[in-house]
Point group: C2
Chain length 228, copies 2
DNA sequence: GTCTATAACAAGATAGAC
DNA sequence: GTCTATCTTGTTATAGAC
């Protein structure tokens, strides 16, 4: 990729990286909707209009950051799957850990892609494609395990100490056992998570009838908590 | 509540409501971080400094909007549970539907409470308490069903037509059955939903060891998709 | 006492001429 | 790429109306 580039092209690429780095810093400080080309330029000791040579608009800069973020989680997820030895379940666990710690390392970039949509910004098609990388990593685990099928009976994971959910138990479900409290937390998580992802546009084109999918997921979460 | 109030107090309350309404409109148009006291004042034909009689700062206005939003989802959830006749599972379903449609009606207010945190805004303790209303509605269903316990075997919900997940199947899991595709979608949803809620501060104080809870949930989602 | 309006401040953003 | 004139922001001090 780098070979054969002219000197000018290399300088340009380097400066582009510098601009993106400064933009990332700005993003972390003021958030996506306050990100301005000017402040990025100031940070670099450049004049605002010079940035327009590299990014034609604020939205283009934002798009670059979004692509970078999707690339980041996607790469982390994919690398985790590839490095993880062992069973498909082990690989899935590794993916989850990797994605979570990427989020902890880059909270603003996480918010950029999975948080509220930036007002006034219309995501170009390229971001939709970039978003596929992580879902591809997830489903890749399943593709590599062609025999895997959802079981009739899901084996419950290894339980954790009761103390883990103690604050919630005391506040909301006194006297209930840890399994019940945990299932309630997960049900609430599914509900909020699913509505958020829907409203923030992450199921676009994924389902022909999101309501059916939503109903199914909520039913499952409710039954898992012991409701009938 | 209204009785016994002086005329002045009533006027004050009315104007406070008007300001909040204008702020809500502004929020819907420009988003939380671009919400400005001046534009709210302009919308009302008032002068900016006059607003300070009602809200001591921009952040106070934002806090009021956040409280209102939590109150809104919470009330919708609670009302749905109370109105729904039938089994605990029916009441849970009603709650989910109510929460989702509240989100569809008020996407900006949803983003305000469950989306990215507003940069530079520190949530006061009152918002934490207000957030409890919806979790209380969720757990209330369980408290009213004291016998409910997570089953060893979760009865799968009624399936939906294969066409519902057709786009995802074609893009990511060609040839797999609907149950597998659905479980994969739900696993991805759990992952992103859980990390988002954690990073956005919604598990604060809920668990002593979030990592254990996260591992448990991801394990469950993976197993449900047939991984082992 | 309670309110609103005027004016001002330091930031920062924006537009355009050069 | 530079400079300037004009805009907006949150916030406060002050003065006057009811």
């Amino acid at each position: 990729m780098t070979a054969g580039q002219s000197a000018r092209a290399r300088v340009r690429a380097a400066l582009t990286r510098e601009i993106l780095q400064a933009a990332r810093d700005e993003l972390a400080e003021v958030g996506p909707s306050a990100l301005s080309l000017r402040s990025v330029a100031r940070r670099l000791g450049m004049v605002p209009s010079a940035l327009y040579r590299y990014f034609p608009s604020r939205d283009a800069l934002l798009t670059a950051l979004i692509l970078e973020a999707y690339e980041g989680v996607g790469a982390a997820a994919q690398a985790a799957v590839e490095e993880a030895a062992g069973s498909p379940l082990e690989r899935w666990r590794a993916l989850c850990r990797a994605v979570r710690s990427w989020g902890h390392l880059h909270p603003q970039q996480w918010a950029l892609i999975y948080g509220s949509p930036v007002p006034g910004y219309a995501a170009p098609e390229a971001t939709v494609r970039a978003a596929l990388r992580i879902t591809d990593a997830v489903t890749g685990i399943l593709r590599d395990a062609p025999g895997a099928r959802p079981p009739e009976v899901v084996a419950p994971p290894a339980p954790f100490p009761d103390a883990v959910v103690e604050p919630i138990r005391q506040a909301l479900l006194p006297g209930r056992d840890t399994a019940t409290v945990t299932a309630a937390v997960l049900a609430w998580t599914s509900l909020v998570g699913m509505v958020s992802l829907e409203l923030f546009g992450h199921y676009k084109g994924g389902s022909t009838d999101f309501e059916a999918l939503f109903g199914y997921a909520m039913d499952l979460a409710g039954r898992a908590a012991g409701l009938s």
